[in-house]
Amino acid sequence: MKGTAARMGVMKRVSLVFKAKANRALDKMEDPRETLDYSYQRQLELLTKVRRGVADVATSRKRVELQMNQLNQQANKLQDQARKALSVGREDLAREALGRKASAQSQLDELQTQYAQLQAEEEKLTLASQRLQAKVDAFRTRKETIKATYTAAEAQTRINEAFSGISEEMGDVGMAIQRAEDKTAQMQARAGAIDELMASGALDDAVGGHRDDIQSELDMMSASSDVERELAKLKGELTAGAPKELEGAAPNGDGQGAQGYQAPQQSQQQQGPYAPPPPPQYTPSQQPEPPQQAEPPQQQAQPAGLPVSDLPGLADEPQDGDRS
C-alpha cells in the first residue's frame, strides 16, 4: 500500500488486525492439513451459533410484538374508560385515564423503535448466516481438493489462503453475533421491566426511567398537553353526538309517549347486565328535553318543567317509568 507506515488508514489497519489473528491461529498448527479439519469444525460450530442467534433475535422480536399488542389493548381500554368517565361527568377520572393512556402510548412508541431494530438485526444476521454457509461450503470443497492433491509441504500456501479467507468471515460473523446478543440482552431486560410494570399496573409511572430530568419534564408537559387535546376532542365528540341521538329517538315517540318512556326500563329488566341502551341524552342535565321530543302532538306548548302526570292523555306509567 502507498500510505506511509505511520498512517495507513483505518481500513488497512483493520484488515491487518484480521490477518494477524488468522496467522497466529495458523502458527499454532503442527501439520498444516490438521488446520483444515480443525478449522472446518470451528466453522460448523459458528454456523450453529449464528443460526441460534437468528432464532434468539426472532424470539425477542416476537416478545416485543406481544407486548405491543397488550399495550395497544390497554390504550384502547383507557380511551373507552375516559369516554365513559366523561359521559357521566367525571372529568377527573377521564383525565386520569387519558394520562395513563399517554404513558402506555409512549411505551408503545419505544417498543416500536425496538421492534424495528430487532427486525433489522434479524435480517442482518440471517444474511450473515447465508454468507457464512456459502463460504463454509467453499472451504469444504477446497479442503478435500488440497488433501487429495498435495503433500503437506506443498499444501501450505493453499491452506493459508483458504484459512485466512474463511477466518476473516468467521471474525466478522463472530462480531455480528456478539452485537446481536448484546442488543437482544438489552431489549430483554427492558421487555422484562415492561412485563413487570404491566403486571403491577404501575405503567403510568414508567415513562422512560433512563432519561434525564429535563427530558422527562418535557415529556410530562407534552403528555399533559396531549391529555388536554384529547379531552377537548372527546368533549367535541360528545356535544356533536348528542343532538343526533335525540333526533333519532323522535320517530319512536310519535303519539306513543308511554312506549317511548318505558323502553329503557324494560330493556334493563329483560336484559340484565346489558345496561348501556339509555342513550346519553337522559343524563340529568338534559332531562327536561326528552318529553318534548317524545310527545310532539299533545304538548307543543308544554313547559319543560311541568310534571308529566299533569298532561292530559298520558297514562300514569310514563311517570313511574321515568322516576323509579
Partner: protein, 92 residues
C-alpha cells in the same frame, strides 16, 4: 481490490477508486484520533457509500481475504478504536 464492510459482505472495488477511498479513510483516521464524532460519522458514511457505489458484491462462495476492511455503519468510535488495537473485538 477487495473491500469488506463488516456485517455487510465483501466488494470488489476498482483500483481507480482507491485514491478517493484513501482520502476519506485518512479523514476517518484523523477523526478517530481526535475523537471528532461529527467528522467520524461523516467520513464513515461517505466511505461506505463510495464502496457500495463503486464496488460489486463478491459472491459469498469465494474464499479471499480482503485488502481493506471497513466498520459497519452504526459502529461507534469506540468500537473502531478497539478494532484497530486488536483488543479482542474479533472473537476466537
Amino acid at each position: 481490490m477487495i473491500v469488506r464492510i463488516l456485517g455487510g459482505g465483501q466488494f470488489r472495488v476498482d483500483d481507480a477508486a482507491a485514491a478517493e477511498l484513501n482520502q476519506l479513510d485518512a479523514a476517518l483516521e484523523t477523526a478517530v484520533e481526535h475523537g471528532d464524532q461529527a467528522a467520524f460519522t461523516d467520513a464513515l458514511t461517505r466511505l461506505l457509500a463510495q464502496v457500495r457505489a463503486h464496488g460489486s458484491p463478491l459472491p459469498p462462495d469465494i474464499l479471499e481475504s480482503s485488502d481493506l476492511i471497513l466498520p459497519h455503519e452504526d459502529s461507534s468510535m469506540d468500537e473502531v478504536r478497539k478494532l484497530l488495537t486488536d483488543e479482542g473485538l474479533i472473537p476466537g
